[in-house]
Symmetry: C2
Subunit: 247 residues, 2 copies
């Protein structure tokens, strides 16, 4: 059995912590990871402060195969992600000729002012991540992928790096609708059932609708046969309790 491919996400930005901007990138990256068999293990959101970014980058880039960051790579003074990542790795940072060339695809040379050139500041040793939307690139340094915060640009960068990522065995999931069958009614049996399917992760997810709870049981795993066996057992459990409930 090969080691699992794991990942963490670091979202960088005061605007997320203030609530002004509602993050959408975490869900996008989480869906992507699940689709290609990468196990997302942790997410952190930190403010635009270099010491906080450096600490989080160094905490998350060790212990995970990949770290994806979003936010803070624009041209304004509050965009300090590239400098912070360079500091985390202890490498220098300067205007990168390849990145500058990308910016010149969008901007006339006379418009490439000091602020815009900030977007070409790339830590030494990094590979660039193309940005088909607005040209200013992201970059990869070691196992850290630095991407934009604007969701459309982040998505384009994720599409660009996707083929370069090592992927794992995909986790497949089945959802069994328990409807308004209360969690408390099936929790005991489900717990026992989970013990008999050790290779499968079984979770119960309540949600509220206008008419009450709408509960779902999700079985997740990498082994199709083990997963099917768990699904069949959960379906039988729900059916039995439903019939009992209406009896």
């Amino acid at each position: 059995m090969t080691a699992p491919i794991t990942a963490a996400i670091l979202v960088i930005g005061d605007e997320i912590l203030s609530g002004r901007t509602k993050d959408r990138n975490i869900g996008t990256i989480a869906d992507y990871c699940t689709a290609v068999g990468i196990d997302l293990r942790e997410v952190r959101i930190v403010p635009d402060e270099q010491d906080r970014i450096v600490a989080a980058v160094n905490a998350l880039r060790t212990g995970h195969t990949y770290l994806f960051t979003t936010g803070g790579i624009g041209p304004t003074h509050d965009d300090i992600t590239a400098d912070s990542v360079a500091a985390a790795f202890g490498v220098s940072i300067d205007v990168d000729p390849r990145a500058k060339a990308m910016l010149l695809e969008r901007h006339k040379p006379e418009d490439l002012n000091e602020a815009r050139l900030r977007m070409a500041r790339i830590p030494a040793g990094a590979d660039l991540i193309a940005n088909p939307v607005s040209k200013a690139p992201g970059f990869r340094l070691g196992n850290v992928f630095v991407m934009a915060g604007v969701p459309t640009i982040m998505q384009a960068m994720l599409d660009a790096i996707g083929p370069t990522l090592e992927t794992g065995v995909r986790v497949v999931s089945h959802t069994i609708e328990a409807g308004n069958l209360p969690e408390g009614t099936y929790a005991g049996d489900l717990s026992e059932l989970a013990k008999t399917h050790p290779g499968v992760s079984i979770g119960s997810y309540p949600s509220m609708t206008q008419t009450g709870f709408a509960n779902r049981i999700v079985v997740r795993g990498k082994d199709a046969q083990a997963l099917d066996a768990a699904r069949v057992d959960v379906e039988a459990l729900v059916r039995r309790l439903r019939d009992g409930a209406t009896a």
Copy 2:
């Protein structure tokens, strides 16, 4: 000047990391903190694993006035937040008579099975947080508030604890619409301007629309007079560059 009131959020749940569920609680709590002058400093999302929850609770409950957790307090075997928080504090946990009484408001005694009683397991020394939606309470232990993951229940619990929280000087923000004025056009001047308004936080937030960038500059601060001065300067900058751009 009094010390700022700060907070962190810990979201607990495999379903968020797998992408199956898109978190909505972070944004809700962030908005709440901003509205009452609490400075949200960090967010983490971790899986349903006790050692990971314990480590995150202990990392985040120190250094912040408050820690808010969401998720993992239901009746099923994957709901391990209460036990994990007890372990983080090194206190015992058992069925709490007050919590059991709350559950009995919803469930008949004969329906209060072992699984449902899990929801009455509360760490020693904790105060309960009422749950008007489905009765199973959250709790407060020290500076840690443990709340449900279902957004409607989390919101109700947040409403319940709100009056008990120490609040700070509210951060007020003004948004200046820069429209399609490129960030790179104003970034240099904005950076200089920011230096002349040290008590005010000035951020630039690009977003994409069908027709291109729609940029916003946000000035944030606790001192109304300083904030107004910064707003006036940013508005003048945008006006000057717009006039220049159309000249």
